[in-house]
Amino acid sequence: MNTPPYSQFQATLAITRASLKSIFRSPSAVIFSLMFPLIFIVVFGFIGGGNISVDVGFDKTSDTTNVLYKILAGENSGVNLVTYPTAAEMTADLKKGNTAAIISILPIDNLKDGKVKVNLQLCDASGRNGKIFQSQLNAIISTVNSMGTPIADMKIQMNQPTEIKGRAYKSIDFILPGQLGFSLLASGVFGTAFVFFSLRQTLVLKRFFATPIKRSGIIIGEAIARLIFAMMGSMVIILIGRFAFGFTLIHGFTTFLNMIALSALGLIVFMGFGFVVSGLAKNESSIPPFANLITMPQFLLAGTFFSIQNFPHWLQYVSYALPLTYLNDAMRKIAFEGAGLWDVHHQILIVVLWGVGIYLLAIKVFRWE
């Protein structure tokens, strides 16, 4: 009998097809990867973010001898003055919506009218925060002017604010990348852990071993199926975000592709956690605690919902140890700021290092039987 040589590729592909069908028919996979992130996007999209203190770019050439500066720089002003090495960087940050406004305080022009003048630059990218700061500033100025000041006859006058055109910054632009990251984490950890545990437990793997496919072929076949499913999920989340909630894709399709590429990397790394959990879990009911131990802290601390800057310092150290933090960070840079993959290579490198570490552990603890 003349049979062609056995093709591992064909066998691996057969597993991918079967597994993908199986995932699509599993309600929990669909709920975890799609429904949860979408629900969170809707809920948090409407709540919006209530920032406690506003970051404001502060022109270095400002006059800091006057009372206005002392009020703004004071601890309870609700304003956080940020200085930049160059004016260009300051303007760039304003355009991204990272700072609410730029303020510069001009020295008193004694010869003319003896008033402290203030220049304010706003940008539509900073949304409400700019307006909030403007009214705060107005309130401060009118209070100071009505009370009189220690410096005789000093008046503060605010020049007409200059509006810089930036791009619109919406809360969906912050929420969606975080949700995308979390969806990948959940799908990677829970999906992989449950699937491999149950394939092992129900002897599906053992039945596969009795066929000529190699073990690596089984893992790769399953992993490709999960990757395809998760990437389809990511695309759906981004597209729904774009068309239903106005999520901004700065460079359009390129940004979309960059986000998908980053999603794929994230999922592959997070699947490593799933392999570890499936290896360590003694029974099915011990999977959720293990998996939650990995996903929950990252869910809360990796900047999924809240900017890490809002956390106390000691907690920020924890945040900066988590892989999802870097994935979220890179995802936002790509999505908001239109960065390319190379621009976030630092974040990617850290995610990859996590991946290497976790797969080394997975190889140690993974069990076939």
Partner: protein
């Protein structure tokens, strides 16, 4: 059947788990085209022996040749020519039988007529049913269908009738005989003696990791009678199972 041609040869097979010996040096041969039964109580070492022959388990010592191929050196080649039915093997529960047949067709790199193969085990009506919707007997028949995809020289069946009702068992026996008649050698484990007596051409009895008897069922019975054994109770021409089957019918039922 050609009793002179050996297709499986097991010599001095030993398997220990840690210091615990499960199989203690057993030797036997299986001939091409026969149904060979490994009998013995639970825990006697039947499944271990079977899984070593199936290349699913390593052995401690001894030699096992499957169609002339050594399990140590040619496991991949052996997998291509054998079919394996595991005790309670699972499949993707949400997939239909046709989709699962497609999967195994890919795993074995074989093009098959899926419907025809399902029909061979009487599951053509269930082709679009999900695996989790099958009854116990249907699952076993499906499991056997997956062992036949690569047109194997030998199939291994591990307690295929455990947990089935009398009709389903008889149906499965007919199926197994049919597979043998098509030229496939069958190795089966069971702890039901009626099954061995009805089905097997030859049997080996394993007890505590050793083979304690090996011959045709008829010969073993004759030997026992020759030793002076007598049943305490006169045997009637029918038993309760015959009554049950004649009352409830013998056809394949959709259990």
């Amino acid at each position: 059947m050609n009793p002179s041609k050996t297709i499986i040869s097991v010599k001095e097979l030993v398997k220990s788990y840690g210091t615990l010996p499960a199989v203690k040096g057993i030797s036997f041969e299986v001939y091409e085209g026969e149904i060979f039964g490994l009998l013995g109580p639970n825990g006697a070492g039947k499944t271990t022996t079977l899984e070593i022959m199936e290349t699913l388990r390593s052995k401690t010592s001894g030699e096992v040749l499957i169609n002339g191929l050594n399990v140590d050196t040619h496991p991949q080649e052996i997998k291509k020519i054998i079919g394996v039915q595991l005790q309670a093997a699972g499949y993707y529960p949400g997939l239909t039988l046709l989709e699962l047949m497609q999967l195994f067709s890919g795993l074995y790199n074989r093009k098959i007529n899926k419907m025809e193969m399902l029909a061979a085990v009487g599951l053509q009506d269930k082709a679009k049913a999900k695996h989790k919707e099958l009854s116990g007997g249907q699952k076993q028949r499906f499991s056997i269908a997956t062992t036949l995809i690569n047109n194997p020289k030998i199939i291994f069946l591990d307690e295929p009738t455990t947990g089935l009702d009398p009709q389903a068992r008889r149906n499965l026996w007919d199926l197994i005989r049919q597979i043998r008649d098509n030229g496939t050698t069958v190795v089966i484990t069971t702890h039901y003696m009626d099954e061995a007596e009805n089905l097997c051409d030859r049997v080996g009895v394993i007890e505590s990791g050793k083979i304690i008897a090996m011959d045709t069922p008829d010969k073993l019975i004759d030997n026992l009678i020759a030793s002076g054994f007598e049943r305490k109770k006169e045997v009637k021409k029918a038993n309760l199972e015959d009554v049950f089957l004649s009352l409830t019918g013998k056809e394949w039922k959709d259990e």
